[in-house]
Symmetry: C2
């Protein structure tokens, strides 16, 4: 294939230093270097090929994933990669597998909930992958409500063992990744029962399979839960089902950092604060927000490049048609997503800082900021994953018909991403947690207790309830303070309205339940404010590189004003802005689209994604889309023969009016 | 498995006559009977099994579809089914295949564009399926813009033939269903060139494959374009790629009803009005709207039933947890979709009437209502397909984690549905056509030309620009006239605002292009008004059956007020309602949710879908979800063996610290 950069003209139009923007996106020069090296390592290794995934049947697909996981582990060891490099390599392998749960959930669970002794015993085995672990929490009948789990762990003082048991069908462990076919061990969550009393859900290390021949241990029934959404997507993962029939484990395999059962069967709570668990949640959710910006940016990269390549309509006298990216309808859907990718990147970066801050405070026994940090990460997890899932699908639609082909990469990206809206807390359930925190904050206003962190603005509730936006012209909407105050006023007013309506109900609980749809909207408003304010903070920092800061400023304004436009009802119903000001914001938005347009391709180049990682013919770097689409098409198994399998049995008889159709 | 109706209690709560509602949904007693018989016929025939689709590799999947298509054709003939019954049977087979294009596009194209003589020659062959046809319009580089097609059909007076040719890579025919592996013939769209002049795009009947051995004819390169979104979904269809290398066809295979080429090569336009083509578009889009209600209602049926089965949280002292359907957050997402399914059903029914009306007028050479009918169907196609695609995915999320399993049926339903947003006119492009029509209508106000049909309300623009909504209490929002006027005022004001802003631009075309995102919103407002007004008209008819009308009234109000809530910004920014009135609408909505709640399960039962057609463990009629989920899981090929294929090569070496990973 000819090597021509079909997007060279687009790239030449960029008004900023692309290399400097790459550093901003990656977070640092070092992070960019590591990512760049690991991405190339993966892209150049044929074992990590992934374009054939949609054509493989489940078993083949799964075996291939096992192969990649083993190969990655081999390369990590051969090249003596650092932990940072290894985890980056896994990112670019870009295929869900048991490895994710081993490193992402099993190891952290032991670290967070195991005693020092337990860590000393289990972690070295896990680090060397001499055991492979998963995280067995959710059950067939129990997802969001962890306290409703049914699996029991009953202490038997006679044998000094716990008896792990699945008392009902709905108590089957269901969904844990890596469980179905691979894991040798699991952290299993079960109701701890000792001395006849149910102490609620606790974690236990349970061996599932023989280390000799991989067969399930006695009393353990285990399997895969079946095909999931998408062609490849999460079908590379062995999400599993697990039933226990009175399986005995030694007492010391209960994770005992926070509470213990003694040899005699006494339940004892240790002096280690329970809040530590929330610290882990802050960590996990922070990584989810960071993954959101990664997934959204991939989709946006594909859609932006292809929108610059693709032409439709608008041809005058036989000249070339108009680039799709030049249509305002395309811009008004695409550029807010480009801006969102950057916005989520920066709020994710800030969450890393927040996690470090919380951890430091926890170590100093300072729990004061934990509830706010917890609400904040819950809300941002919900906001960014929902917007990303919707955004990927929108990018697919923005690619027209070809976005429906697997070779566009977008169907796979969507199907593999959407579970993020459900796992680690259903997005609506999380927003209700945020709302509950907001209602508590509102109720404490005036009590002298000052709201902290991301809720600090609520301390200015009185001012914000009175506030009138003073925008007179479209350019006023470019001022960060104007945007910030409008978002603060909207968030405060929605929250206060909810609180007032709740207070009219027979009881707070009834009011909360009756108004929960409104509360979700108030929580969203609060979370969007956080994203906007962190983007503004980012842009107010020193940012080196020609034109880089200017582009980020434009993106920041696009993000804020497109959210405002989408939720105009909120801003108007609370009287934060006038209809006229709403229209001015929309005028400004159109002007911002024109400003970002010449930089769009360079702004997605700044993600520095290889063609391998993108996995999209439509999004390929050189824009040489059509020959590649055609090349991919011919690879389909259906094209192995000119006359399709089944012609003689099922097509010819129809054409020749013979209906002797055999029943297989 | 025990035969218990887990939803019996839900069904006993219904406040209306379920059988009467089934007739309303089906359209008539006769339609219900036919649908019921055909659905059972398909469900009881093992050849039509579809639960294994997600597990089949592409070739197997495709062969299986060929088998089903042949079997369906056999049964249709054996049982001497009527045309109505046959098409209903194909609906319940529920698997995209070449048959859809043969009956849905190839035959109608010949009927609509062929001369009487051509119809006499080709239709009998097609009716008996002695030839199988597809519709080859879109090209690799050309989708929405039909006028931009590149394939040429050059008349050669020497041989009295057209030479069909693909001059470029981007001119490859791309996407046509049934083309890739099955069709023997196609209606091919190509630029007609005669006497050195390009007369634009015309249709030609081209034979593609030998009727003897199915091999492509000389000069024809043909194949499948590869895997598409979803596990089964459209992968049962052979969407194809096709290149012509100077393929000759007789002159009389040009479809010559509207224009002809003579033996000498003269291009002649016949006296048959070109507008007939638009009549066909009205027909096709009407069927798409009707399919939208079908697809959305399936998703809603699954989500409603499972939401009544599933319990999470809210357990007091160990009692059962709360049914998910009782949460307001669930209701506020689910019930508007239930209402939309009914709304789209009724607007689709009305479109059938509209098509009949337009056809009658065309036959009488009356083209006066055609532009309005065309804009109306374009807009409704866009509105209903977008809402349905989003709605199916929302239903999937409403089922929590289990909605991600293929056995829930929802991933498949989504993946197979989304192309409807793109085919037969990209949804945004269609809305811009509607907007163009609206702008024209606005510009003619006061010219004496009265707007007709669904735009008649614009004749009252002066009144609607002045109008003030007089809602004082939540119950005022139940009055049809109040709802209708608010929607009319919003639609008119958005349209007039756009028109005014366009008039400020240097030229109307520049203005239209610059404001196209706003124009899309105005078009959406107009289309939503149509759906609301047709629902209101339906509910104002005589509807027999205890409580049936009352339920439809509630659904109508839920549809209207949830749209109002979602687009509150529009209503407020145009001053159609006050913030206070917006809040009252929201209060009314919550109360409507409580009213519909006890009837929700019975309202989805009224769709009368068999478990086979639903194809969902979560949505099964008896609600016995959990044993069925487990049963489905064990069927996965990964569960064929306890120790997975690949363990010895790729898992054991990791566990045993041996990195000799073979490179296949």
């Amino acid at each position: 294939m000819e090597e021509v950069d079909h997007l060279a003209h687009e790239r030449s139009k960029a008004q900023f230093d692309g290399d400097a923007m790459k550093v901003v996106w990656a977070g640092s020069k070092h992070a960019l270097d590591v990512a760049d090296r690991m991405a190339r390592l993966v892209a150049s290794d044929p074992v990590f090929r992934k374009d054939n995934r949609p054509m493989l049947a489940r078993k083949e697909l799964f075996k291939n994933t096992l192969r990649k996981a083993a190969h990655a582990w081999k390369r990590i060891n051969e090249l003596h990669l650092t932990e940072e490099e290894a985890s980056m390599l896994r990112v670019f392998v870009d295929e869900p597998s048991y490895v994710d749960l081993h490193w992402g959930m099993f190891v952290p669970a032991i670290k967070g909930q195991g005693t020092d002794e337990q860590q000393k015993k289990w972690l070295p085995l896990a680090y060397k992958m001499q055991i492979i672990g998963c995280y067995a929490q959710t059950e067939l009948g129990h997802g969001s409500n962890v306290q409703g789990l049914e699996t029991t762990a009953t202490f038997d003082p006679k044998t000094d063992e716990f008896i792990i048991h699945s008392p009902t069908l709905t108590s089957s462990k269901w969904w844990p990744g890596g469980l179905g076919k691979v894991s040798t061990h699991a952290v299993v969550y079960a109701r701890l029962i000792t001395e006849g009393k149910d102490y609620g859900v606790h974690g236990f290390i349970v061996q599932l399979r023989s280390l000799d021949d991989h067969s399930p241990l006695p009393g353990i029934t285990i399997g895969d839960i079946g095909t999931k959404f998408g062609n490849g997507a999460y079908n590379t993962m062995d999400n599993g089902v697990l039933q226990f029939d009175h399986v005995c484990i030694p007492r010391n395999q209960m994770l005992m950092r926070v509470s213990q059962v003694t040899r005699e069967g006494k339940y004892i709570v240790s002096d280690v604060p329970r809040q530590l668990v929330y610290g882990t949640m802050v960590y996990v959710r922070q990584t989810i927000v960071s993954d959101a910006s990664k997934a959204l940016s991939r989709a946006v990269c594909i859609a932006v490049r292809y929108s610059a390549v693709r032409r439709q309509f608008g041809s005058q006298d036989g000249g070339p048609e108009t680039q799709v990216i030049d249509y305002k309808t395309q811009q008004s859907r695409l550029f807010p997503l480009l801006a969102s990718a950057y916005a989520f990147r920066f709020v994710g970066e800030w969450l890393k800082w927040l996690y470090a801050d919380v951890t430091q405070r926890l170590q100093a026994n300072d729990f004061s900021t934990l509830p706010e940090a917890h609400a904040c990460t819950a809300g941002l997890k919900s906001l960014t994953t929902s917007a990303t899932a919707d955004g990927i699908e929108e990018c697919r639609k923005l690619c027209g018909g070809h976005g429906y082909l697997c070779s566009s990469g977008l169907p796979e990206l969507f199907a593999v991403y959407v579970p993020a809206c459900t796992y680690e807390g259903d997005n609506v359930v999380l927003l209700l947690q945020v709302a509950r925190f907001l209602m508590k904050t509102v109720s404490q206003l005036g009590s002298g207790k000052q709201p902290v962190g991301t809720t600090a603005y609520m301390g200015r509730a009185q001012h914000l309830m009175q506030y009138k936006c003073d925008v007179c012209g479209a350019e006023d909407w470019l001022k960060p303070s104007v945007i910030l105050e409008a978002f603060e006023a909207r968030a405060v007013r929605l929250a206060v309205n909810c609180a007032q309506n709740i207070s009219k109900a027979p009881s707070p609980e009834e009011g909360f339940s009756e108004l929960s749809a409104d509360l979700v909207e108030a929580a969203v408003a609060h979370c969007q404010l956080i994203v906007v304010s962190k983007f503004i903070e980012k842009v107010q920092q020193d940012i080196p590189g020609r034109g880089v800061k200017e582009q980020l400023q434009i993106l920041c304004n696009i993000y804020a004003l497109s959210v405002l436009h989408k939720h105009l009802g909120d801003f108007l119903v609370t009287g934060c802005i006038t209809p006229r000001q709403g229209s001015l914001a929309n005028d400004q938005l159109r002007s911002l689209y024109s400003q970002i347009r010449p930089n769009a391709v360079a702004l997605v180049d700044a993600f520095n994604y290889t063609d391998h990682y993108l996995g999209s013919v439509l999004g390929c770097y050189d824009g040489n889309v059509y020959p590649k689409l055609e090349e991919e098409a011919w690879k389909d198994p259906l094209n192995d023969s000119v006359v399709p399998d089944g012609y003689h049995e099922y097509v010819r008889p129809v054409l020749k009016q013979k209906f002797r159709v055999s029943r297989l």
